[in-house]
Amino acid sequence: MATIDVRGLEREYKSGLKAVRGIDLAVAPGEVYGFLGPNGAGKTTTVRMLVTLLRPTGGSATVAGFDVSTEPAQVRKRIGVALQEAALDLLMTGRELMELQATLHGLAARSVRGRADDLIGRVGLSQAADRRVATYSGGMRRRLDLAMALVHEPEVLFLDEPTTGLDPTSRATLWDEVRRLRADGTTVFLTTQYLEEADQLADRVGIIADGLIVAEGTPAALKAEIGLPHLDVTFMECPDLGHARDLLLAFGKLRPAPDGVDVSVAVAAGAAEIAPVVRVLDEAGFTVAALELVEPSLDDVFAEKTGRHLEGAAQPAATPA
Amino acid sequence: MTRVVLALTRRSLRGSLRRPQFLAPLVIFPMLFLAVNVGGLTETTSLEGFPAVRGFLDFQLAGALTQSLLISGVTTGIASALEIEGGFFDRLVASPIPRVAIVLGRLVATGLLAGVQVLFFLGLGLLFGAEIVGGVPGVLVVLAIGVLAGIGFGAIGQAIALRARNASTVQGIFPLVLVVLFVSSAFFPRALLSAPADSIARFNPLSYLADGLRDPIISTVSLAPVLEGFAAAAGIAAVAMALSVLALRGRLREA
């Protein structure tokens, strides 16, 4: 049975705005599900319904086997939540917050002390545990928030845009922790507007736009739907482009070259084809100025499905040669 | 110069009108206070030493008006501070308009608003049975003193905003303002105050301001209190505007 089971879930606000317009999804036990979409697509609304902070206006959802509308207390017992704002009480220390969180979940603060220390260490806050949160950086607050969400050993973890606006170090720590949770068998529901994040962490990705899921699958499958990686080649001086095209045709189908690129060729084997391509061109006397391996990205999937690009994803993922 | 001041005035006024949470306290706080005072202390006009008045409401109107003008000064300060926080102020300073125009623009708006406040509270008094004994000349006197005082309080708020540069500090002076008002003769005749308010009230310009605003309401216009009221309002306005200009200059030097 799915750990998160959503059927026809809808949310209409009093203003008449329909933020979520009937979505279906199922997340298997131990799976990391990436929920990807631009700002305002309905990601946060969906998460708030799944964690019982907002009542659905249509459809149904169960989390860890309990209905979010009719058995919210049972759901709350089994989930950990780190919401976008990392809401913390600035006057308390990290350790005190961990203990408060334990109390709120019905555990005696004493009984979780060891686990709290362990979690604080895992997110790299051991040094800061007894300092007030007011002195923490944004990244430290997010990491503490994550540790708090885990203190009662939840079956399902919800992370709402956990790394938006974070520095690279904090982002790496959070990613590591999510990978570790997956290894431990925790089910993770992760929303993000970063393609790379979904690509790196998620077993499966659902793409939401305007309150509807427009694509779903493993990152690899979604990208495969869009097509093969390709190589963009640019030459030093004006060469015989016709000859170059003939040479490259041996590697795969030619594509229309984007601006500033001389030839673009689809390559099934990806990075493995770079060296042979360079060798062939070199032997024929061409001087390569730039060569880029362009992987199809989730953004391409998104653009394909919605005709729009994700925020901050206007540049395709590129591997400079 | 005039055109610039008028443009900035219009902008300030529009800003106030579009932010009801700024305008509401000007009216609601003094009205609530007025109601509580008048309702609870209505019999005090029979006390020995109370000046001859038709009723306690007539006496209290000037107090409510002074309070409203003071709150408006704080609001002006908050609006200026928000403008500084938001960066709009720097844009004004960077533009080729006279510095004084920046200060004056908002103050003229505060003065116009003060006129409306005077008329509102006089109207409110009439509605609930007070009488303006000084008649039309009395109303004009109250208007003149009120507008002058409103500009003065606005200038104080602005000077504080220019120094503090954040709205919460300006907001923080609000209780202090009410305390200063309290130890004046704004709400009760000076002859009937007890220690320590009685001695403080003698030196508190707000006493003379409130008495000047009150005289034309409770009697025919008499020279002494009205002149004292004008002097208090003009003094506050002059000192506060000087402070405001100095604060602006200090700010420009740092910038």
Binding site: A73, R76, A86, T103 | I28, G40, L41, P175, F187, S194
Partner: protein, 255 residues
């Protein structure tokens, strides 16, 4: 209430008290305000007790209990403002995500108000005794403290209802003025027979009037059952009503 729920309430109360113990200075205005209110009121309106109707009681003694109620009002309103801030910052979501019944969370938030109001009350009481207000008797003091703590929690329910409805600290003036009006539209400044007719009418139906009489009895005379039970009943009625509003507000918050 189970042990786990009690632990949740205790943790939330402890957290609310952090604002007093961990932010030096932040609590001072709230602690001083009722005392300043009473001292100011006495030095301005002190002569009022010359009116027949006050009997032997002097004005200071008469308004100290009003100061106690003000402390409850300020604390109750502050509880609502703090909740609105917690909602704005997302902290309240964290509380709602805990599996304890939501009424437990509400109880924790509201119960803190009953404790916090004791600080300004204690300060005011010390100043009052030092300036010659007679000791109300152990029974009078106990009854007064219980009623004031109850009123603080009740007014906190009122303010919390507004916070849940508006979800922004901008609703603060509404909370403060509601509490202010509830406390002062009573025989706060003078005995009922001296009030203006309209205020007397309001005071008669305002349940806070009974609470005030219960708090005041020890200060102005003997503690009697006849003054105590109406105070308790009025407070219980208000607590049930505002508690129900707050609970409904909480239910609607997520829907």
């Amino acid at each position: 209430m189970s042990r786990m729920q009690l632990a949740v309430v205790a943790a939330l109360v402890r957290r609310a008290l952090n604002e007093i113990t961990r932010v030096p200075g932040a609590a001072i205005p709230g602690v001083l305000a009722p005392t300043i209110f009473v001292v100011g009121l006495t030095s301005v309106f002190g002569q009022v007790d010359r009116l027949a109707g006050f009997g032997e009681v002097d004005f200071r003694t008469f308004v100290v209990p009003v100061g106690f109620l003000q402390a409850a009002g300020f604390t109750g309103a502050a509880t609502g403002v703090n909740l609105a801030r917690d909602i704005e910052r997302g902290w309240f979501d964290r509380l709602l995500l805990c599996p304890a019944p939501r009424l437990t969370v509400l109880t924790g938030v509201v119960a803190s108000a009953g404790l916090r109001c004791l600080l300004p009350v204690a300060f005011l009481f010390a100043v009052a005794l030092a300036t010659g207000v007679p000791f109300p008797g152990v029974d009078g003091l106990l009854v007064a403290l219980l009623l004031v703590m109850g009123l603080a929690s009740t007014l906190a329910c009122f303010a919390v209802t507004l916070a849940l409805r508006f979800r922004t600290q901008q609703a603060a003036p509404l909370m403060q003025m509601g509490a202010f009006a509830g406390v002062l539209f009573t025989p706060a400044y003078a005995p009922e027979e001296l009030l203006a007719g309209w205020l007397e009418a309001i005071a008669t139906v305002n349940p806070v009037t009974h609470v005030l009489a219960g708090v005041r009895q020890g200060f102005v005379g003997e503690v009697t059952w006849g003054d105590t039970w109406p105070a308790g009943l009025a407070l219980a009625g208000m607590a049930v009503a505002f508690g129900a509003f707050a609970a409904r507000g909480l239910r609607r918050y997520s829907s």
